[in-house]
């Protein structure tokens, strides 16, 4: 088989991988009507009533939301520093963070998490679950 044919077949294969991944992502889309924390479902309003509303400074300006620290403490998770937290977004993106980072953050009403001192990669969008896991 010639070099040109191999390169063309490889390019087609890559497009097939991309297309099938796009289909998989579309099929597994998640609704963000509520947020599950440690297995319990909450609406955004409930979470805003549960925790303290604070403003934090980020490199994108001020952000207002419910303090994750107060939200987690009030959602009856004993010993928050003993766990790691997996924040899951509707687009399939998730980030695992430790309590030291988690307690600095907020959850906005859009719903997105912001942490003042981390790269934007940790600012998960469309949050639908915060899984609490043993370290």
């Amino acid at each position: 088989m010639g070099k040109e044919k191999i390169i063309s077949i490889f390019a087609i294969l890559l497009l097939l991988v991309g297309t099938s991944s796009a289909v998989y992502v579309e099929v597994n889309k998640i609704s963000t009507a509520s947020i599950k924390i440690n297995g319990q479902e909450y609406s955004i309003e409930e979470l805003f009533n549960l925790g303290e509303i604070i403003t934090i400074d980020t490199d994108e300006g001020e952000k207002i939301g419910v303090s994750i620290e107060s939200m987690i403490i009030k959602s009856n998770i004993g010993c928050p520093p003993c766990f790691i937290y997996i924040i899951k977004g509707a687009d399939g993106f998730q980030q695992t963070v430790e309590w030291e980072i988690m307690k600095t953050g907020i959850l906005t009403d859009y719903p997105r998490v912001y942490f003042p001192d981390t790269a934007h990669k940790f600012w998960v969008k469309g949050v639908y679950e915060i899984e609490v896991k043993q370290q």
């Binding site: 695992t96 790269a119 934007h120």
Partner: protein
Amino acid sequence: MNKFRLLAGILAFGSLWGTTESYIGSALDNAGLPSGSIMTCFFAMSFLLFSRLYFKQAGMQLGMGVVAGSLKLFNPFVAGCHLCSGIAIMVEGAVFEAIWFFISRDLKELKSINIQVSLGIISAYFMFIVGNIVTQILTPVVQGIGFYLNDLIVFLPRILARGILPALIGAVIVPIIILSLKIDIKLKDKLYYPTALGISLICWFIVIGNWFLA
């Protein structure tokens, strides 16, 4: 090729790439457009491929990635994830270098439109997905937060899916760049260094200079 001439080329093309990433990339991001995909396939591919086929020097694109990535890292003025983008840009340069290392620098061997389109797809797709994967790993490591493999595994299908747009635009960009090389562009030796250094200085000034003005 003269080493200083090559260094000046790396600096000029890398600075142009970094400046477009800092400003156009951020503007696309603010407009809610897929800036990573558009920047990778359009600007990065154009600068990398043009310089590769014009200078015909291996290693140049790796250097351009380092220059462009550094410029993005030093850009505190425009909103966006500078660390993630800076790492992604450097990786894109390295991936391009790795792919094109095995491909002839002789334009005659890249004559077939079929091979041009295929190379556009392969280069842009790999640059985007490898850049993205390495960013997911290195950003938390560099920040000292810790990397969790499972975070990457669950996000992998989306990264692979997002690579489609850069791949398709890459398929169009490569033939266009190769066609543009038929225009005889030659810069006189006397003008080469002032032009390369002038472009670099302007680029670094408008990015870094903003840091002092902000």
